[in-house]
Symmetry: D2
């Protein structure tokens, strides 16, 4: 029985991830993401009303039209975590396949919310929640297992497909973090067991494959220590404090909330997506906020909250969206004096996020920071650690799984190539057992572990 | 008699240059420029209607308020070339001083045009044209000399003030180019003579002081060879060709015009500032265009011309503004499908300009190029050489002039510091005879060469 | 009474630090360091037998000849920590001054050891130990205080001179680390008190002033977490493990020793300087090693130890010198197969040190790493955090001390300039109250806080 | 009839190039180079006495052992230019194949010289000279054509194999230079003809595929203008002048010789390889030196010449080896005061070569330059242009040849990948018609243009 890995998106870019695995005549799809960067080129695009074919043509969502040539039936659509470059196209593409959607609970909650916001298509696939560490049988021949893992969003897992031809592992995205508060450490023991049972193929992220400095990605515990050292003093002063981070980074927001307790400040979580990700996480018991914390998502409630904070800035800790300086997000609007809260001398602004490298982001961040500095704010940038495995983590991962074949994903050619070189250091050879695919290409294995 | 150099602008940035030299109780002002980068932060600014004090506060023009504390009378306002960071604030500041404006003919033509466009202030200082190589007596004690030099705009000179205390040389901006078509080589012989007579102080640009790769700046002849190699082939194909460069870079535009003769294409110079700089240059006999060349400045005439070129693209060579991708300039508008001329497969776009390093420019250029590439254009970027002296040119300059004191200018602290280190290699010492000033500071010399 | 700061070394480079402060007619000297990088140019130099004048001429030690023009008597020579770029020239220069040497206990132990090794000069200045937090009266008018601080060596302090003209603070080198095991956090409270009493001048290090990424320097606790994550797994495998770090970095070595306890491995501290710094630290109760740890300094004992480890590599954790790949140091010699211990497949090599940026170090490290990799080792580089304050730490420091004047030190012009720009953000102005000195220059203050 | 391209060396590095093309059962080998960088790791290696198997194991020469599995007979060994990374292993490998060696005249002269220097093997293959523009029949089915091209050594060609399955083009290394003095411009017309006839596969260099700045490589004419601007002045002063460049870069040496005529200085070509490459080129009429020029290769004659130049430095222009600062080469020895010629204040040193990027080279160059500067020399570095095609040159090349398949070579994975992305912009797709091979892999085509 042949096995095929089909690359649909994320093999030429960071964004719009989508892959499929065909085992005999059964197909499992992994991820349906969007490519945010592409939206910059097509400025006026309102995704929620657009047809998938238009979005495919503009490069915003994966091109799954090649699925019609795949000789098999889709049995499941699997999502291993809830970031937009992995789930953002679900409402545009999932309805084409009659198969159930399988995801961890927090991921599923985000998927449901995405489906609700869609205006063009109606997605009515069955939704099936699967917890980290659990398995479910997809067909007589295929069992899906979710192995507990860590990333920068809760409930991120590594997926394993158990088949008669061997195990196929899908590992987009992960880091090896042994010190998170919300998520337990990755299940290394289970990964090693899979390695012993026989992994036919590993599909793996490569986000930091070109990064030679921080070779093992720092733990979130490091981010927490850094934030603590930055925030502790100013929290106790009579000054304003704003912190911005990824809305979906619940572990980080939990750390911020915990650090806030060194003072009497009340937490305000501000911005539409901040409210969305955090309220879901809180309602599921993932995020634990103090009672006096508030969440404000609608423009109106954000305005009110900001107006309250403006006068008594020493009583609040504002947590906002807008870390990339995106023109319409909250922090850039504050920086640009377009809200009720005016940056003033003494305010502390902590940017707990990297600049996601693109010229537009560099420009927006720079402008935002310069405006706030010229209003008297003090900026602490880069209070962040990555959510993606470093090259020595990847080396460990390869040594645990000992896959027969490796397919690097989640990157441009430069990143896939860098990963391939790492694999070659571990005894693989590009073209033989490491396969660099382009979007739209497939790799067939003839099984037999 | 004491001599004082007063730094008003351009000592903490590249932009808004303005310096003054006081000799006894007589003062000569050099340059009144604007800081274009600052406009990005204050988006909606319309300079032509703004008061100078507002512009000073926003950091857009030099702060000359400290001139009121200078114990002397302004005898002349001197401009050594016509770029906006040197003349752009003339209409906001010159009227405060009763002194005549002195500049080379092309520079003066640009100054007059700037004054005409001003809506807030009325500048009625006398205008006095002085050619490269000429001198004029400014007061019984002070003679101004314009030494022929080269830069990226015609009629750029190095100014020398002859005083009883020694010569003061003002050298913003220049390169040593021995192979320009329009401008003869710098007058090295005269510079060496000044060095022998005794230079008390040199005020000098530092734009490329941190650049360690191209240590002697390449000649414009190199740019011409590069452009020729890029353009010659495609000019003869039936494809579109657009080239964008600095509107004021008449030497470059002359080269483009000359290269165009390898084909039968007609030259179209397009865009408001392109028309402004080129028509002035042509009317003064500096730029020599073929008879069938056209210039189009007003939006209406640009549209018409583009519409004509759209259908017969193989008959034209378009020269446009917009090399930085500035949102409202012509080439970005073409890239964004907002004109009658639509980029199509086969079009050649040559960007004969560097990215002026700022995050906004990197973002704009990137967006512009990606849009054109996605429409099928071929882009040749970086077909350019700098107009500023390299570090070995500066070393030569110091050895020619042997100044007693050096004041680096036209840069941020990093650039002024890099120049100071170069000067130290030549035997000077920072703090002793190399003086790093900040905007608003002054350096007094007690003469006596 | 006038106060003067005299720059003798470390104002044009990182290395050979030496400054003096004259208060009226009394002089305090701070530091007498060597410039290691300069030795690369003069290969065959044996310092211990060379005369100070030769070393001054070659730029290896500070030029203190200008002290003869200083109108005052040297009352003390003060060392604030024990790194070679601060104490390395003590044996060449201290005897010229009759004054006592004052230093913290660990620093003093290192000074004594340096003096003993000297073959050319005889240093017999009185030695006076002063603990962090203690004061001593140097003259009727001057009291020296050692404020507890943190760096990458134990017993690092910030020095304060209390004078009738105000306090002069000497802060080379420090970081703000709240989580070290050996050294308690810096005495922020005392620093703020000094700020209130009135600081006339701050002489301050600038090592990381150009670093814009990690704006508050990470704590050693971060290094420990990183090392733990790297080492914990492999420690329990049957593989070799070598770690290299700065011999003087006792905090780090303590962390390594603590992490080693996750296994039964015995610690071997190897190399001449490793033995020197660690045995001193252990004998003073600063470093606490397990009983079965061994230290091997002489070539012979190193060889024996390595030969023992070669056969039973899974029983040892080797800690060696040679992190820069310096040709004659231990780890490069191991890499180059010049010892009894041969790198083999499976060995883990952890480099807990950065590359100190110089072309020779980049080359040596690269060669060393490639050789070990080609023998089968796995390298973890960059398991390190800096020992120097980041720019936001410096901002905090300025806000605590509120000095009237600042003199940046411990860097080249680029670094001093970057610090000056930071100070300007805090309201200072270069040339007015921030003073960039070159080696051999002095700055006079007329006191009066 | 199937066609196969076999990658033996240069597909994972810049160095040790070797490829083979099998057409049916006939094989043509291209190049047999050495990897100079690898020698740094194995310091004491004396190549001339070593066996090829040892050299293969150390990665210094290509691994051709896989040729024994290739099902065909070697008909020719073809060299397209004479650099060491293309011909350096000829004496170690060629004797294993009974086939004739084919090369252009200057290349052949260098090959003969290499064979003569070999001490281990005896190479007695027939040698067959073929001029640029000429063809020769290799077998009834295969004709080899040498198309005139340009590079940084004379007689560089692009090879075309005419076969019944289409043309196979081998283009390592080339640039498109229309303005060389010695070599006429590349034969673009012929390349376009080949494109029309049908190119089955293109094997192409990728040296500058990652270089996004200089997108069309500058002509040697640019290097000449730069050198002229640098040298002209100092040549007429009474100062020393040394210039160093690649010994094999006859075009550059010709330019230097021509520029020297602005003065009365006598040219001295110094160093073993300088003498070797230049005397061959002069004897073949390629290099034209003035009568009073001298060449000095042996240590003794170099010493004598330098001793003569030491006293009358203003009468000579020294051209030396050692541009990378390699410890034993001439210029570093001069810098290190190990010859009779001592660098002194006023000497001009022009480095007409880039730093070939490797940590060892950066260190050696840095050390060499610092030593000369500290002796008073003035250094002009980077007076150089590349000999390799830029990405827009490659785009032109692809459009001329329109190959069915492309195999990027002469680079590491990063470079091959960057070229593949360029090819994708031109409509190819990696894995379909662009093939990234690793050393030891082969690609089979089933012909049929």
């Amino acid at each position: 029985m042949s096995v095929e890995v089909i690359a649909m998106g994320g093999y030429e870019e960071v964004g719009k991830n989508m892959s499929a695995v065909r085992v005999g005549d059964e197909v499992i799809i992994f991820d349906m993401g969007i490519h945010l960067d592409r939206l910059h080129i097509h400025e006026d695009t309102d995704i929620s009303r657009m047809h998938s074919l238009d979005l495919i043509e503009k490069g915003i969502i994966p091109d799954d039209t090649l699925m019609k040539d795949v000789d098999g039936k889709v049995r499941a659509i699997v999502f291993t975590h809830g970031h937009l470059d992995h789930i953002g196209a679900v409402a545009k593409l999932a309805h084409r396949y009659g198969a159930p959607i399988i995801a961890t609970p927090y991921t599923m909650a985000l998927i449901e919310s995405t489906i609700k916001g869609e205006k063009k298509f109606k997605v009515s696939n069955p939704l099936q929640s699967l917890k980290p560490g659990e398995k479910c049988q997809i067909s007589p021949d295929i069992t899906l297992e979710f192995i507990n893992s860590t990333h920068s969003i809760p409930h991120a897992v590594i997926a394993a497909l158990h088949t008669s031809e061997g195990i196929i592992v899908y590992a987009l995205d992960f880091k090896f973090d042994n010190h998170q508060k919300i998520s337990p450490p990755p299940d290394y023991k289970r990964l090693k067991q899979l390695g012993k049972k026989g992994v036919l193929a590993l599909i793996v992220e490569t986000t930091r494959a070109t990064e030679k400095e921080e070779v093992k990605t720092h733990s979130e515990k490091v981010a927490k220590i850094v934030l603590e050292d930055v925030m502790k003093g100013p929290l106790q002063e009579k000054e304003g404090m704003i912190i911005t981070t990824f809305s979906s980074h619940i572990e980080r927001i939990q750390a911020i909330s915990d650090i806030a307790k060194y003072s009497d400040r009340k937490l305000m979580l501000l911005g539409r997506s901040m409210e969305r990700y955090c309220s879901l996480a809180e309602s599921m018991g993932i995020l634990k906020l103090p009672k006096n914390a508030g969440m404000y998502g609608s423009p109106k409630s954000v305005n009110k909250a900001l107006s309250r904070a403006e006068d008594k800035r020493e009583e609040y800790l504002l947590v906002t969206t807008g870390h990339q300086g995106e023109v319409d997000a909250l922090l850039p609007r504050i920086a640009n004096a377009k809200t009720q809260f005016n940056i003033q001398r003494g305010d502390n602004v902590i940017i707990s996020a990297p600049i996601i490298p693109s010229p537009v982001n560099f420009a927006n961040r720079n402008l935002m920071e310069r405006r706030m500095v010229s209003s008297g704010a003090r900026i602490y940038a880069n209070a962040h650690v990555s959510g993606h495995a470093g090259i020595e983590d990847h080396r460990d991962f390869i040594r645990m799984l000992k896959p027969m074949h490796i397919i690097p994903a989640h990157g441009d050619l430069n990143m896939l190539g860098a990963y391939a070189e790492l694999a070659e250091e571990e005894g693989y050879k590009l073209g033989n057992d490491v396969h660099v695919l382009r979007n739209g290409q497939a790799q067939v294995f003839n099984g037999g572990v």
